[in-house]
Symmetry: C2
Subunit: 160 residues, 2 copies
């Protein structure tokens, strides 16, 4: 099982948007350029983030994308869901209802295979819910340091 690379791209793109000055926005092509990613795919993922209410599209001169709510109110789980969808990874097909023993048992009781996988998914979800885009952006800022931050602000002001 492989998570879409769009999840990684989107987390980093949101962290970039979190670093913009008040009222700033970046186009899909600028967000793609910042990490040297294919613009068309980046645009597709930004549309998914927009549909999920994570980013907001601003029209006109200086338009583009900005975060739709504060970076500390967007979790990595929100981003993952926007890109990967909201259905559980484990789909129970109730195969226990088939075959020679299918007439026995109480079908209303949930399958314990499905229950175990969904419990594991809840643990995974809770872990990602505890990490915000603000936390990611802070980590990136620390990584880049003061010189990197200055270069980033210059890049934004140069029109990206």
């Amino acid at each position: 099982m492989k998570l879409s690379e769009g999840v990684e791209w989107s987390c980093h793109a949101c962290a970039v948007l979190a670093g913009l000055p008040q009222g700033g926005a970046l186009s899909a092509s600028a967000l793609a350029a910042f990490h040297e990613l294919p613009p068309a795919y980046m645009a597709k993922h930004l549309q998914a983030l927009s549909r999920a209410g994570i980013v907001h599209s601003v029209r006109g001169v200086g338009g583009g994308y900005r975060l739709a709510r504060p970076a500390n109110e967007i979790s990595l789980w929100d981003v993952r869901q926007a890109i990967e969808g909201t259905t559980p990874d484990f789909r129970c097909r109730e195969i226990r209802r088939n075959g020679p023993c299918s007439e026995f048992g109480a079908p209303s009781r949930p399958c314990n295979v499905a229950a175990a996988f969904w419990a594991a998914e809840r643990s995974y979800q809770q872990s990602l819910e505890s990490v915000s885009i603000a936390h990611i952006a802070l980590g990136v800022a620390r990584l880049y340091g003061a010189k990197g931050a200055a270069r980033f602000q210059a890049w934004v002001q140069e029109g990206s």
Copy 2:
């Protein structure tokens, strides 16, 4: 992201094998028939379980598959890994090393996006490691009840 249906099939197949009498074995086609699954796909998944050391193939009359170790020593995580592989779901492509700010920062420090996703995967793994095939088989036995258990043993003795 969708987990292969082979994970569900394999968990249930292992639970069936856990219910066999001492020394018993079931063919791939019998294991497929028990849940009305396509025999060729079931056989493929059983080969993966065999490569992972979860089931053991027995040749000759009365041959087939049996569990390679006690059911309480096989976790749902073991089964999931056998079918889905052992690489993490999240693949970090280090896109933070690209673009206008790539010259800044300490590349040796792990990316905090990747760190967060891998931490979530560890939570998921720990959750599945805590559930054994013995637990699943016990749940199935409880679901079927005494009449279902008798039907199962009869089905096995009839040559499946």
